[in-house]
Structures are given as C-alpha cells and as structure tokens.
Amino acid sequence: MKPAAFDYVRAESLDEALDVLRNEGGDARIIAGGQSLMPMLNMRLARPRILVDIMRLAELRRVEPRQGNIAVGAAVRQAELLEWPALDRDLTLLSLALPWTGHAQTRSRGTVCGSIAHADPSAEMPLALVALGGEVVLRSARKRRRVAAHDFFLGVMATDRNDDEMIEAVEFPATNGRRCAFREVARRHGDFAIVACAAVATERGVRLAVGGVADMPVAREFDILPASALDGALNAFAWDLDARDDFHATARYRRDLVRMIGHELIAEVTR
C-alpha cells in the first residue's frame, strides 16, 4: 500500500497554503500531522494531486485563550495539547478525552484540528468539540469564517469546509470549573470507539454527547430529572441516534452502551 503520486508544497507562509487551495482546491489537501490523512493515502481512499504541509507555520502552532475560548491552532499536535499547562483547568474535557485519541505513537504527530477536519464519526476530538459547543475557524484566501461544531460535521467524513478553505484553528469554550466526564468502549485502548460519550455540566443539568453511533457526534441537553424520567430520556436519545450493526458491534449493543454510559456520566457530573 503506497500513496498515489502527488506534488508536495512545504508552505512557508499561510498565504502560500491558501493560494494553493484557491487555485487547486478540490485537488489539494492540507497535511499536518498526517495521522488521519496518511492511512487514507496509503489505502488510496484519497488521491489528492497536491499536498500542502503546514507544520512549519509558527502562527498555527499556538494554544491561546481568546474571549472565553481556548483556540488551538492547526499545527498543534495532540501530544502538545496534552502537555499544555492549563489543560486540566481550562479544558478539563480534553484532558480526559485526549488520552483516548489514538495511541501515544500517533498523538505525537497527529493534530487536534486534523482529527476534526477528518471527521471520523467515532473520533474523540470532534466529539469533544460538539460536547463543549465549540467552533471551527475556517480560512480561505478570501475570508475567515466561524462555524459552530454542530453545523460543521455533516456526515461520515463530511464537513462544511469548502475546497478552498482550511481549518485555521478550533475554539473550545473554556470549562471554567464546570464538571466534565468522558468514557469510551473500544476493542483496544486507542482504537476507534464503538461508543464514546462526553458529558459537561450546564446550568440546568447536563449536556451529553455521543460518538461512534450516528454519522457524526451528537449532543443533547438533559435537565436534572428523577431517575425514571432520565431512563426514558436516555432511551429516547439512544434510539434517536439510529445505531447500525457493523463489524465491531450490533446496534443493540451500541444503544445499551449509550444508556449505561449516559447514566454513569450524568451521575458523575451532577454529583
């Protein structure tokens, strides 16, 4: 399994990268850490004519607070975000979810934004972005626009990004002491999730997001309810996700996991 041939641009400025996208958009792909894109290239599920490497762009390699959000630039590797000193306090959910994102050997190169651009329905970074209600900052040679997480993910590996755009950064609302919880079931720690759930405490109750079941991560708000009513609400959520049987698990097992993990996480963040 070897990639089909492509031209390679080692971008020396953001404008250079955006120019390539403007001129050759649909044929070009951004490569950052490559941990989602390289398997696609090796298996020839993707055959871009040109790759644009953005990892030398210092302006994309920043984690910074921005008006209540934490902005993570497109060249920030997952391992680097894990080592960000304020992670536990400001991005509690990410501190829980990142250790489940791939393996140490892929987090060392893979970027946070790359995982979100790839939009695998069972991946942890898109799930965390949806759970926190974050935003994706898209940039083209013409303009910059912001898209809410729930509008960005459109389906399995499908997003709202246009061919001439790249993700410049993603912004996660800072957790500010809100309780968060995360749990995942996979065949092997670090493999794609059969079901992954993230919960964040809100003013009225809990926001629960589920990955690995629907075509994209899905979040729902739960008020603080008596146990029996919560059972019903979680059951409705589990069915609404429209689980399917596949090689890894049955739809029924996935619904069971959503109900069970959902209960545990809601208890954990409302305790």
């Binding site: 041939a5 641009v9 390289m38 090796n42 490497d53 250790p99 720690h189």
Partner: protein, 173 residues
Amino acid sequence: MTRMAAEQRHRIRFTLNGEAVDRACEPRMLLTDFLRHEIGATGTHVGCEHGVCGACTVNVDGRPARACLTLTLQVEGSEVRTVESLADRQGRLGLLQSAFRRHHALQCGFCTPGILMSLDALFARRANADEAEIRDVLTGHLCRCTGYAPIVRAALEAAAELRGETNREAVDA
C-alpha cells in the same frame, strides 16, 4: 514557495541515528521505504502500513512516530532514530534489548523494533514510568506471539535498571 513535483526526486536532509543523511526522494515516499530501501536500514519493520500495528515505530525529534504514516519529506531537518541506534557499535545489545532477551519478550521478533523504540521514547521522558504507563504505550503495538506479559516484565526491569535500582552488568557479561 517550494513546490516539489510528484515525478521528481527532491533533496532531503535529516539526521539518522546521529549521522547526517543527504539524499533525494519522490514526495510520495514513506519514511519506512526510505529507511529500508534507500538507506538499507532494515531494522524498522513494515506491517500494516496504516498505523495500527506499530512495527514501523521510530523516533522523530524525541517522540515516537509511525514511519509508515510519515512522508520522508516531512522529516526534513529532524532527528530520526531507529532500532539500529540501540545497540553499540560492537553490536552489544542495549539495556532495553538485553532485558527483552532475558525475559523472552520476543518470539518471531517482527513487532520488536517498534516496541523497543516506543519504550525507549517513554523511558527517555519518564524514567519513573509505571506498569500502567508501560501498558498504555504497548496498546500502540500488536504482538501476536508473546501475550505481552514478558514484554511488560522486560520493560519494568529495564526501567528499574535505568533508575539505578538494579545492575545487571555482571549477569550479562
């Protein structure tokens, strides 16, 4: 802007196990193939070629990396280390390799180079790594022979030795 055409070979410079590499390759060449076919360093093994098995794990700028998910051109200017760096010039096994031999932590040996490089990177950062951390790193590798238990034992012993808690020199000599 440096645009490197698909069908041409382009200059690539990096450091491999402390020695300068100055060669050329096509953009699509994976680091696994460059190491094995261009350099002739066949210690890095090729398994699944999509990042799952871990056999091709090397060290790039101090961190473990899948060589099969890395384009050679991406390591321009980097320091790359492979399993060939673990033994000394006389071919004497390194500390981690010796522990693997003592504990029968390999049978066919196909997965071993990648596991050694992951553990080497772990111990370089965290000399106090405990069993849970070792097992967490090992989730990034598939070994179909050993059942992992001897690998964990070897890693724990190597970690203790690195911390100076045991000294095996007399035994190995």
